[in-house]
């Protein structure tokens, strides 16, 4: 359950930016979570309420933007969607694949007051 740690760093980052800007309440935070990032969005959602207790984010809304995964074949250069670890290129069958999208794990925006 490393999602608790990830959620804690989200809260830390948001609080730091809020304080720097002189705000004392965070209304919402938006995050990009890639489908291939290894972080389960539902688990982040699940622990968010508990983690924000007693912080500037208490009562705030968590907006998760899921980024679908994509991979590219080293052999035929084909790029294709991959919501899971796809094991072979759908075009040529090669295993030589690299991620092009879906590893994101990033805070993007926050609403403050």
């Amino acid at each position: 359950m490393h999602e608790v740690g990830i959620t804690r760093s989200l809260v830390e980052i948001a609080e730091e930016h809020a304080r720097t800007g002189g705000h004392n309440k965070v209304l919402s935070v938006s995050v990009d979570i890639g489908e291939l990032s290894g972080v389960v969005a539902e688990a982040v959602e699940f622990c968010f309420e508990a983690v924000v207790r007693g912080t500037l984010l208490e009562g705030s809304r968590l907006i998760i933007n899921r980024i679908p995964g994509a991979m590219r074949c080293r052999d035929c250069q084909q790029e294709f969607p991959a919501d899971n670890y796809t094991l072979e290129c759908p075009q040529c069958g090669s295993f030589m694949l690299d991620f092009t999208k879906g590893k994101e794990l990033q805070m993007t925006e926050m609403e403050v007051e």
Binding site: I13, G38, Y85, L87, L105, E109, E111
Partner: protein, 237 residues
């Protein structure tokens, strides 16, 4: 977009609403692992400066991480100087086993934590004489999921898979086998008693990670350890 109030309208010069204390949107592009990655970068710089080669050993519980360390240290201690960080949720059992080899060791107990992070490692090595060490071995918490995400400042993540776990583990836990660049298939002395398909296991691992380098060995019989030792010698030369 209006920078002042962040209200999102482009042609918006006449503000007919009050600015404060209304809500305001801040654009903050920051990686959620940024803090760990920053600390891992500091560890990596420290290790480079002191000339220490660092491996992060990851696997499911009981695959043989500590056995591999005991064996490797005992066999190579006249050539190479080791230091070891042991990560477990609880107990100092593994640290005691390593201490018996004579190598400096520090146990990190993570409590409820499911992985080591760069912060723990940074403090973990504080008591070591890094100038004297050639190799720092970090045995991560036995877990094939979470440690994949956390850079500790190592040169290589080494994933250990023992043959009693089944050949499909690279497919079931692809994140870990993708994050690692070295894979050790351990306990091959048990192959005669199992249905484990070694060839299939290699293929699965290469499908998940085309760049992975694979060693097959047994800490019990000693088979295959020589190529592992050669790799360590070359890497630290």
């Amino acid at each position: 977009m209006c920078i002042e109030c962040g209200c999102g309208e482009i042609n918006h010069h006449h503000h007919d609403h009050e600015h404060d204390p209304g809500p305001k949107t801040l654009r903050v592009e920051e990686d959620l692992l940024a803090k760990n990655n920053r600390l891992a970068g500091l560890n990596r710089a420290l290790f480079a400066e002191r000339g220490v080669f660092v491996l992060n050993l990851v696997s499911s519980p009981g695959s043989g991480k500590t056995s591999l360390l005991e064996k490797t240290i005992s066999d190579l201690k006249t050539e190479l100087c080791f230091a070891v960080l042991e990560g477990d949720q609880q107990t100092a059992n593994d640290a005691n086993r390593i201490a018996a080899t004579g190598a400096p060791v520090k146990q990190i107990n993570t409590g409820a934590g499911c992985h080591l992070d760069a912060h723990m490692v940074g403090h973990g090595v504080e008591g070591f004489d890094l100038d004297a060490a050639d190799i720092l071995m970090i045995e991560n918490v036995g877990n094939l999921v979470c440690p994949a995400e956390f850079d500790l400042g190592e040169q290589h993540k080494v994933v250990i898979l023992s043959v009693t776990e089944g050949e499909d583990k690279p497919q079931k836990y692809p994140h870990m086998f993708r994050a690692a660049d070295i894979m050790l298939i351990n306990k091959i002395d048990l192959l005669p008693y199992l249905d484990f398909n070694l060839e299939q296991c290699r293929t699965y691992a290469q499908q998940v990670n085309p760049d992975i380098r694979i060693f097959e060995l047994s800490c019990n019989s000693g088979e295959g350890l020589d190529s592992w030792y050669d790799w360590l010698r070359q890497a630290t030369a």
